[in-house]
């Protein structure tokens, strides 16, 4: 099983550039999430989705956008990249609402210079 797949694993952006982090899961999970992890900090929720066509903001949504056109895919778009967006980004999915077993991708390390 592939589980949750994120691409790319590494990326360097210049200030003002845009890019999309891809996330795909093959477990038919309804719930999908994007987190960012800054050094020495826990994960913070950027956006989440409870099913195709439904997305909502998390704790730190500014500077990001998402879409959920299919159950499998949940891309995260960075518009006008800023140094403050340098972080490791994790996509996760869950098949249930509150049991907490999130399945994570391997992460994408993004550096904005």
């Amino acid at each position: 099983n592939a589980g949750v797949t994120q691409t790319p694993k590494f990326r360097i952006l210049k200030i003002g550039q845009s890019m999309t982090l891809q996330c795909t899961q093959d477990m038919n999970h309804n719930y999908m999430y994007w987190y960012r992890q800054d050094p020495g900090m826990g994960l913070k929720l950027i956006y989440y989705s409870v099913g195709a066509g439904i997305t909502d903001k998390g704790e730190v949504p500014n500077g990001y956008n998402v879409s959920r056109s299919t159950t499998e895919d949940f891309p995260l778009r960075l518009e006008l990249a800023a140094p403050s967006q340098t972080s490791v980004y994790f996509c996760a999915s869950s098949g249930t609402a509150n049991t907490g077993e999130l399945f994570f991708g391997e992460g994408s390390r993004l550096t904005v210079l």
């Binding site: 900090m41 826990g42 994790f90 509150n98 999130l102 994570f104 391997e106």
Partner: protein, 113 residues
Amino acid sequence: AQTVTQSQPEMSVQEAETVTLSCTYDTSESNYYLFWYKQPPSRQMILVIRQEAYKQQNATENRFSVNFQKAAKSFSLKISDSQLGDTAMYFCAIQNTYNDMRFGAGTRLTVKP
């Protein structure tokens, strides 16, 4: 808002010994879930153990067990017979709804041979 505090940024333990990682949390909810996630150097987060707040019995998963003190809002993780493969970052997390899982800053555990 829910918060999670992990007061030990780094810990080390000798192989085959026992180590306890601390976690305290704050929430105004009466029903919630608590988790310990492991993040090895490969970066992919993995669920270690889960505790439902309404259950008084402490959760156990093989060498991993928790000490859940609801009144004190404490949720520590005990790792018995530590193995080199236990070397990782460990994150404590709390969730009461599908869109609000909060993570602590993590404890870096090193198991020494």
